[in-house]
Subunit: 333 residues, 2 copies
C-alpha cells in the first residue's frame, strides 16, 4: 500500500464549518485507503457531525480545541493569542511532524501568518507563497503569489517560479511548465520596477522553463502554466476572475429572462451552461497550497463545501507522495 | 448654437484605419452640428474614403501626413523621430490651440508619451493618467490609471482621484462619484506600500467622495465609480476584464454546441445573449481620455470600428463643453 498521509483538518474554519468540512473529510477517507485525518475543533460538534456517516473510525481522529479564529480577526494577533484554536493546534501538529499537512477554510491572513511563524519555512525559502490554481481555456494555471507578499522582491519572485514549476509538474502533471511573469506588455523593457528587475533573473534561472511576460488578457486563454507576480497583483487577478465571471453570468441569466423566446431557450441550455460554468469555477480545484512551508498548509476558499474539502485533502496526498517539498529543497536549498 | 468643438482625428491609427476611422468621423459630423474635424493621414487615402459618404464638406478637413507610427514602434523614439506622423501632427494641433482634442486608435505608448511631451500637462498636474470606462452591473466605472504610471507615487493617485471625479461627474453624469482605491482587502491597514501611503491622503482630500478600499472582485459589481490605482494594477484589471469575459463567452458558446438540445436553445437565446454581451463590452464607451493634459487626448481601442470612433468624438464634445480641464484646474491648480 502507498505511504500513509496524515492530514490535520481545521473543522471550524469557513462559512460551512463544521458540517461541510466533516462531510468532505469523511468522503476523502472513504475514497482511498492511504489517508488518516485529525479534525481540530469543538469535539462535541464534530462527533455529532461524524455520527451522520459511515467510515473507518480508526482513520479519523478528533482533537478538541476550545477556540476558533474568526474571519474578521487580525491575523497576527489571532495567531499569537489563540494557541488553543483549531487553526494553531492543527499547524502545530504539522510543525511537530504529527501531521504531513494542514487544510483550512478559515481566516486567510491568519493561515498565512501561521504558515510562516508556526509551521515555518523550508530552509532557503525567503517567503512562502500562496498558489491557487485558476481555470483557463486549456485547463488550469498556477498563480504565485496570491497571498501575503504584497511588496515582494525580485529574489522572492524567482523562488515562486521555482516552487510553482515543481508543483505544476508533479501535482498537476504538466511537463516542463511554462513560467511567465505577469506584465503590462510582452516586451522585456515593459513593466514596473519589480518586473524589470525580476525579468533577467528569471531568464537566467536554471531548472525552469521561462517564456517571458504574460499580459493579464492572456491568462484566461491559457498563455502560461505558472504565473509569477507579487501578491498585490496576484490578488487582483484572483478576485477579478471571480468578479467578472459572476457578473457576466448574472447578466447572461438576466438577459435570458427578458423574453418568452429566450426563457424557453434558457431551459434547453441549462444543463450545458451549468457544466461550462462549473469548468470555469476556481473552487473545484481543492484549495491553494502555501508553497515553501515545511510540511504543507492548504488554504481552501471560505465558501468551500464537501467536494472542495475532499479535493483539498486529496491534493495533500499527492503533494506528500510526490515529495514536493523535497524537490523544492533540491532547487532552492 | 452650442460652442463649436474642433477635433483632430488620427485617421491612420488602429487595426481598421483608415476605413472605419473615416466612417466614424463622418457619422459624428452628421449626428450633430457643433463638431468640426481635421483628419490627419495620407490625403489620397482619406479623400477616397470620404468620397464614399455624404456630409458637410466644410466640417471635415484633411491634413496630409507622410508618416505613420506603427503599433510595434518604441513610443519615445517614434514620437521623437516621426514629426510628420498622423499622431504627432494631430497632437501639435492641440498644443497650438488649433484643435480642442485629439483622438487616436494608434500606438498606446506613443500616445501617452505624446500627451506628455507634445501636448503637455495642465499646470499642477504631476502625471496625466489614462482613464478608461469599464462596464459594471450598475453601469460603468472609471479606472485611473490604466496608462503609463506603473510606479506611481501617492500624490499621483490623489490627483487621479480628483481628475477622475470631475470626469465622472461632468462627462458621465454621476453625482458625487464614489472614489475607491484598488486594494487586496477592505480594511485600512491592508495593501502594499503605495496603497498604505495613499489611503490617508485620499481620506483627507477635499472635493472627492472617498469610500475606502475596493477589492477587485467588487469592481464588476459596481462597488465604486472611480477606481484609483497605479497603471500596473490598472492594466491588469483592464486586460483581465477582456480576457475573462472573452474566455467565458467562448466556453459558453462551445458548451451550447455540445448537444442538439442546447443547440436549439442557443438559437432561441441568441438575440438576448448578444444584447447582454454588448452591454458588457468595454469598447462601446468611446475611448479613454488622457486626464491631465492641456486640451484633450483620447485613446481608442486598437480594434475600434466606426461606432467607437463616433462615440470617442462625441465624448470630446462633452469634455470640452463641460469645461473638464477648467474644473480640473480648479481642483488641482
Amino acid at each position: 500500500m502507498a505511504e500513509l498521509v496524515r492530514i490535520a483538518v481545521d473543522a471550524m474554519g469557513g462559512d460551512n464549518a463544521p458540517g461541510e468540512i466533516v462531510k468532505g473529510a469523511v468522503e476523502s477517507v472513504n475514497s482511498r485507503g492511504d489517508i488518516r485525518l485529525v479534525l481540530t475543533g469543538r469535539e462535541e460538534l464534530l462527533r455529532a457531525e461524524l455520527g451522520k456517516y459511515t467510515y473507518d473510525a480508526e482513520r479519523i481522529d478528533v482533537v478538541h480545541c476550545e477556540e476558533v479564529i474568526e474571519t474578521a480577526e487580525h491575523p497576527v494577533m489571532a495567531i499569537r493569542a489563540k494557541k488553543q484554536s483549531s487553526m494553531v493546534v492543527g499547524m502545530n501538529m504539522v510543525k511537530r511532524g504529527e501531521a504531513d499537512a494542514f487544510v483550512s477554510a478559515g481566516n486567510s491572513g491568519a493561515l498565512l501568518v501561521g504558515g510562516q511563524v508556526v509551521v515555518g519555512r523550508i530552509k532557503g525559502v525567503e517567503r512562502p507563497a500562496m498558489a491557487p490554481l485558476i481555470p483557463t481555456e486549456k485547463g488550469v494555471a498556477l498563480l504565485v503569489d496570491a497571498g501575503g507578499n504584497v511588496d515582494a522582491r525580485p529574489s522572492h519572485l524567482v523562488q515562486f517560479a521555482q516552487m510553482g514549476s515543481v508543483y505544476m509538474e508533479n501535482v498537476v502533471g504538466v511537463e516542463h511548465p511554462r513560467v511567465a511573469i505577469l506584465n503590462i506588455g510582452a516586451e522585456e523593457e515593459k513593466g514596473n520596477a519589480l518586473v524589470k528587475e525580476t525579468y533577467p533573473l528569471l531568464r537566467e534561472c536554471p531548472g525552469i522553463h521561462f517564456t517571458g511576460s504574460i499580459e493579464a488578457r492572456e491568462i484566461p486563454h491559457g498563455g502560461a502554466d505558472v504565473i509569477v507576480c507579487d501578491a498585490f497583483a496576484g490578488n487582483i487577478v484572483l478576485k477579478l476572475y471571480e468578479g467578472v465571471a459572476s457578473t457576466l453570468i448574472s447578466k447572461v441569466k438576466e438577459g435570458l429572462m427578458s423574453s418568452l423566446r429566450s426563457k424557453i431557450g434558457a431551459l434547453l441550455i441549462k444543463p450545458a451552461l451549468k457544466k461550462t460554468l462549473k469548468e470555469f469555477d476556481a473552487s473545484q480545484y481543492g484549495g491553494a497550497p502555501l508553497l515553501g512551508c515545511r510540511g504543507l498548509v492548504v488554504k481552501m476558499h471560505g465558501s468551500s463545501t464537501a467536494v472542495e474539502v475532499k479535493n483539498a485533502i486529496l491534493q495533500c496526498v499527492l503533494f506528500k507522495q510526490q515529495g514536493i517539498n523535497e524537490k523544492i529543497m533540491e532547487h532552492i536549498g
